[in-house]
Symmetry: C2
Subunit: 152 residues, 2 copies
């Protein structure tokens, strides 16, 4: 397979993972900067026209994987491919961010949930959405319902 | 960085890239199968509850990258990070598929745009959408408008 290389690094307010908001209904509205390496800056041409981007990045502080694990906000274990766990066979993270502006090789974005210094693997334009009414969200929806009932 | 390994392979109707529908307003509704390797099957636990999945995969038949290139449906060049070009610094593809059903280690899905035999790097649950009314789609929207004017 290919040999991954960073195309840049994330500048984020989060210095360690305990600071990253987690749990049901968590809103990720932290601002950060995607600092693309100069040698890849040309690849950002025309990116300003997109409101949202996919960021693929490396969970570089995760050193093994587990196929079954419990998310922080649900005591029940789920398969790694049904969660956003950092402990994945290929430690690749995916985040949708809102593009606030570009300054040469720096993209100012909202919605970062990565640690400061995280290596970026790829950036892609967010071109279309699945309509919310078509989404089913399995165990996540069930955990939200359980929590809502407990809070009644 | 990490060393990527396949967690499975795509079974797709497309044997070469000329068969994959491309262009503006292309609908990807081809059905295919994500065949996860037995050793990773436990990681699929509870995935059935999700209607849509992200699939991360390797452009394994792409052997170099270009920072600026023209998509098949627009004569104007754009930066690689503003397109879905296969010729990326890290040759990772991202596809949203609809999960039709699971049969042990096989996920039957709709919406494949990968070639048959493509190595899968990761599968993640699709948990939320950016509302369509919040999306700006840059050069893609402009190209669609130009095409619509030409067809008037």
């Amino acid at each position: 397979m290919f040999v991954p290389k960073p195309i840049g690094f994330v500048s984020s307010p989060y210095k360690n993972s305990s600071e990253i908001p987690k749990g049901l209904h968590t809103k990720h509205d932290a601002e950060g900067v995607l600092k693309v390496l100069r040698e890849f800056e040309l690849g950002l041409t025309d990116i300003e026209g997109f409101s949202h981007l996919y960021v693929l990045w490396e969970f570089d502080r995760s050193d093994s994987f587990e196929l079954l694990g419990s998310p922080p906000f649900d005591e029940r274990p789920h398969g790694v491919f049904a969660t956003r766990s950092p402990r994945r066979p290929n430690p690749i993270g995916l985040t949708v961010v809102e593009l606030l502006g570009r300054n040469n090789e720096e993209l100012h974005v909202r919605g970062v949930d990565m640690l400061d210094g995280t290596p970026i693997l790829d950036i892609k334009p967010y071109m279309s959405s699945v309509p919310v009414e078509n989404l089913r969200r399995g165990w996540l929806a069930e955990a939200e319902e359980r929590k809502a009932r407990m809070n009644l």
